[in-house]
């Protein structure tokens, strides 16, 4: 069996594209499953909107404006919205790849059936990522539409927000896939959710600049992908683009590649005996 990692790294772009093209079948499958469950996906659309209204407007009444490093002052809602956008992309991707993939991997044996067809592990892994990406992009697009309607887009750089948000979603879906193959029991879910996703959401400069926290927390947070996702997307929507955002992007590219390699290895380990 050709290692998916080998296929992805040595097989050349043509073969990599073939895998992605065949992986669309898994997206097709997930569409079929979710055809009866659109409400689940819609609730994911609503969540960041509730956050934006609840926290952005609520806290915005107290905080009103936030000063940016370049001297401008922007409304608190405009400050928080891009962070919620990044978080929505993360949640869409992570929930799909952690919860749903875990059950298919461990209890439903869905992949064992699929692997008896010409589909391989690379197709399955990439198919799940593509699907998570589609789900996350739905969240991202609806947030972007809302932000535009509320006048929270402050810079022409924002044209890049959609592709960047998709890349952020790709990074988190690869991360989720890598993580889920390590989980053994349903109880294990509490670890990534409670110890990683939640604190990242709170401390990554989502609601306040991270300078509000003690140095050790700041250093730690700068190592997380959500911090860089928020910093990058906030840069785009507010027009605060600089070297820092270049570094954010480079960091995310590196993180994405690493997560991909781990995800493929783990899926292979888990499914091939």
């Amino acid at each position: 069996m050709a290692s998916p990692v080998a296929v992805a790294t040595q097989g050349g772009l043509g073969r990599a594209w073939d895998v992605v093209w065949r992986a669309r079948r898994l997206v097709e499958r997930n569409v079929l499953v979710y055809r009866h469950q659109w409400i689940v996906i819609l609730s994911g659309v609503a969540e960041p909107i509730f956050y934006l209204i609840g926290i952005g407007m609520g806290l915005g009444g107290l905080v009103r404006t936030v000063g940016l490093p370049d001297g401008r002052s922007i409304s608190y809602t405009a400050y928080v919205a891009p962070a919620l956008l990044a978080t929505a992309a993360m949640n869409g991707a992570v929930f799909e790849t952690i919860f749903n993939v875990f059950f298919k991997l461990n209890f439903r044996k869905t992949y064992d059936g699929i692997l008896a067809t010409p589909m391989g592990i690379s197709e399955i892994a990439i198919g799940e990522m593509l699907w998570a990406l589609m789900r996350a992009s739905l969240y991202a697009v609806s947030m972007l539409v809302l932000m535009t309607a509320l006048g929270l887009i402050l810079s022409p750089w924002a044209l890049l927000t959609l592709p960047v948000t998709l890349f952020v979603a790709a990074t988190f879906s690869a991360t989720g896939l890598a993580g889920t193959a390590f989980l053994r029991t349903v109880q294990d879910f509490d670890i990534p959710m409670g110890l990683i996703v939640m604190p990242m959401f709170l401390f990554s400069g989502t609601f306040f600049p991270i300078s509000a926290y003690p140095i050790p927390i700041q250093v730690f947070m700068q190592a997380t992908p959500l911090f860089h996702s928020i910093s990058l997307i906030r840069g785009l929507t507010t027009g605060l683009m600089g070297l820092e955002q270049v570094w954010d992007f480079a960091y995310l590219v590196g993180f994405f590649s690493l997560a991909m390699v781990i995800a493929m290895r783990r899926m292979e380990r888990k499914l091939i005996k």
Binding site: L32, V33, D112, I114, T117, P118, G120, K273
Partner: protein
Amino acid sequence: MSGAPGDALVRARKLTKRFGSFTAVDGIDFDVRPAEAFGFLGPNGAGKTSTMRMIACASPVTDGDLAVIGMNPASQAREIKARLGVVPQVDNLDTELTVRENLEMYARYFDIPGSVARSRADELLEFVQLAERAKDQVEPLSGGMKRRLTIARALINEPQLVILDEPTTGLDPQARHLLWDRLYRLKQRGATLIITTHYMDEAEQLCDRLVVMDKARIVAEGSPLELIERYATREVLELRFGDVKRASLDGQLQGLAERVEELPDRTLVYTDDGEAALDEVHRRNIPVQSALVRRASLEDVFLSLTGRSLVE
């Protein structure tokens, strides 16, 4: 691509599967010829499923050579799998899809166009008698119905080689006979079948040739008839003694036949003339509760080779 070496559709040489330090398949050799039905028999844990999974490209070969339809599972899994139908020992249907969606979606993995997929799904649902359940979810189906759906799914790509790991376990007699009939017709059309089963009648009915595996090795190979001739006598006298302690009978059965096999519930006397042996039992005044003379079957072969009764 085509033209497997030596005309075999599946060819294994010193084929080995290890899980860690445990050897599940220990250097076995076999050839499956095109358009034949080839059986794997053997007690639980003999290594049948491990072998089937290697052929199906679901499990990497640890050692030795394996060619499936002339191709190497290690490098051409996708090409091989496109031409296989697989019924795994344990059903792995897509429980998030309906009965019909299971078939149609599976067809899509094989790149079968939607319209063809739909008509094949119709035909197969009819065949496995699940047409009325087409719109139902999979989970609430009975065990036998799930099995039938798994079988239908394996045929969606009109496979050249069908691998069936205990296909009829859990099926009622009518469904079993229907499946035998269908498999027979598949073979007539040129498909090759590889089957494992614990039902000896099934093996005799379906298999042109078979191997018996025991403890990771192949211990015998041949057609059902050849195996019966080689490993059993023509007839078998089955004796039941009721409450009488059989240990005390040991001596009394001596010299009666070539071989005497003690099972928990009965004693098997292997002989070419069952009636004569029974007369001798009566002449010796051995207190039998009931006696039956029958032709030897694969079950007797199995028993003599593995020392185990099939029905565990």
